[in-house]
Amino acid sequence: MLMAELYGVASGEAKERSESLLRALGLLERRESPVKTYSKGMKQRLILGMALISDPQILFLDEPTSGLDVQSARLIKDMLRSLNAGGKTIFLTTHDMDEANQLCDRVAIINKGKMVAIDAPERLRMATCGRHSVEISFSDSVNPETLARLPSVNEVQKVGDKYRLYTESPGELVVGLVNHTCTVGLKIVSLNILAPSLEDAFVALTEKEVKHA
């Protein structure tokens, strides 16, 4: 209600709006509890509610889901999607590439205070087409250097119990991998061809900036 007063929202309207916002944010039952007893996720949801009490057309949100539990993060993301669908413009700053990919129509990548790219997430991903990769796991341990020597492999990364092999021609690499496993007597447990992620695009674009500098 304080925020409503500070934004000049009429008290009747503020009461109505705060109740519907608290309900939408899953906080209505705890409305009488002191905020210091709230979890981090609840506090973050409350802050979003405070920002929405004046029904702004443009929202600036700084890492709205950072460090939150899965449920709170999902609730906030769903709310942001519905606000955006309702016509509100949302500026979101985040380090979470997955979140940016899920929520944003346009993504600007800022490196050292300078905007290095701005486009739709899909177009940014496609702009770094050399970053296709094949994610593979084997039945036994494998020397990554052996994998790096396979034809058309640009880079090898160990990701948990899997290996991610970056390439420009994933089809050729899959054939090479199958032949290699047959030769050395290994079994493939799983194999996925991955398109470049927004994170890959971010890394590629920011690395390019560093090289130019």
Binding site: L2, M3, E5, L6, Y7, G8, I47, M50
Partner: protein
């Protein structure tokens, strides 16, 4: 929006900020008890055994309680809020900095005025009579506003540590109590003592209170009121101008 409507809008918002401050910082049992007990015990420690009349004690006690309560919490609200990062949220709202400061002053003023009723009621119960109750009430209100404004001056240094601000406030508050005619009436002070006492706003309130309760004012009432108004205006102006400079360095 026309200028008068804008002023009215900002005034309403400063009242909202004052209500928030009272709810969060002032209406706590320990704050209220400390607000009353600390000046009472400080006063008693200087008066017990000196065979003073109730008529003499009540104006001094009232002056001390009003001064200490109206300047107790206001200096630390801004650093507290800056530390809790709620100040930046407040500053991002459509409120002017003057509105935030006015809200702080209003909360402190309400707290000081409410707590000052304690020594007034004690005095009335003990048989103290007040001549000119309207003048007396006006003096309490004006002094509360003056001290509340001074409280906001203490929080100007751009530190977010409440302990530092408290230390700065204490360095000013304690000497002020000793030079303001609370323990020794103005007319009993030597000339140099009187000269020093005139730099304290508390002197003028104590003088009005003594005039109303003891019929023993040292200065003309119009002068007391005039100087209190001038101090209030000065403290408000200084608080608003200098917070303007230091506030951005807090966030």
């Amino acid at each position: 929006m026309p200028e008068t409507a804008l002023v009215w809008q900002q005034m309403r918002r400063s009242v909202a900020i004052a209500r928030k401050d009272i709810r969060i910082y002032y209406s706590k049992g320990p704050v209220i008890i400390f607000g009353v007990l600390f000046p009472v015990f400080l006063f008693l420690s200087f008066t017990i055994g000196r065979h003073m009349s109730v008529d003499f004690m009540i104006p001094g006690l009232l002056g001390m309680i009003l001064f200490f309560t109206a300047t107790s919490i206001s200096p630390i609200v801004v650093p507290w809020e800056a530390q809790a990062r709620t100040l930046e949220r407040l500053m991002s709202c459509p409120v002017r900095l003057e509105t935030i400061i006015a809200g702080g002053v209003l909360a402190s003023f309400a707290f000081g005025t409410a707590i000052s009723l304690v020594p007034i009621v004690i005095g009335l119960v003990l048989g103290v009579s007040v001549s000119g109750p309207v003048i007396f009430a006006l003096a309490v209100i004006l002094a509360a506003l003056c001290f509340a404004s001074l409280g906001n001056v203490f929080s100007i240094p751009p530190t977010n540590l409440p302990a530092t601000v408290n230390m700065i406030a204490s360095v000013v508050k304690f000497p002020v109590v000793f030079i303001s005619g609370i323990f020794i009436p103005l007319d009993e002070l030597p000339a140099w003592g009187q000269a020093i006492s005139y730099i304290s706003p508390l002197t003028y309130f104590t003088d009005i209170a003594r005039s109303c309760i003891q019929n023993r004012g040292h200065l003309p009432l119009a002068l007391d009121f005039g100087v209190l108004i001038a101090f209030t205006a000065l403290f408000l102006l200084v608080a608003m101008k200098l917070h303007q400079r230091t506030m951005p360095r807090r966030i």
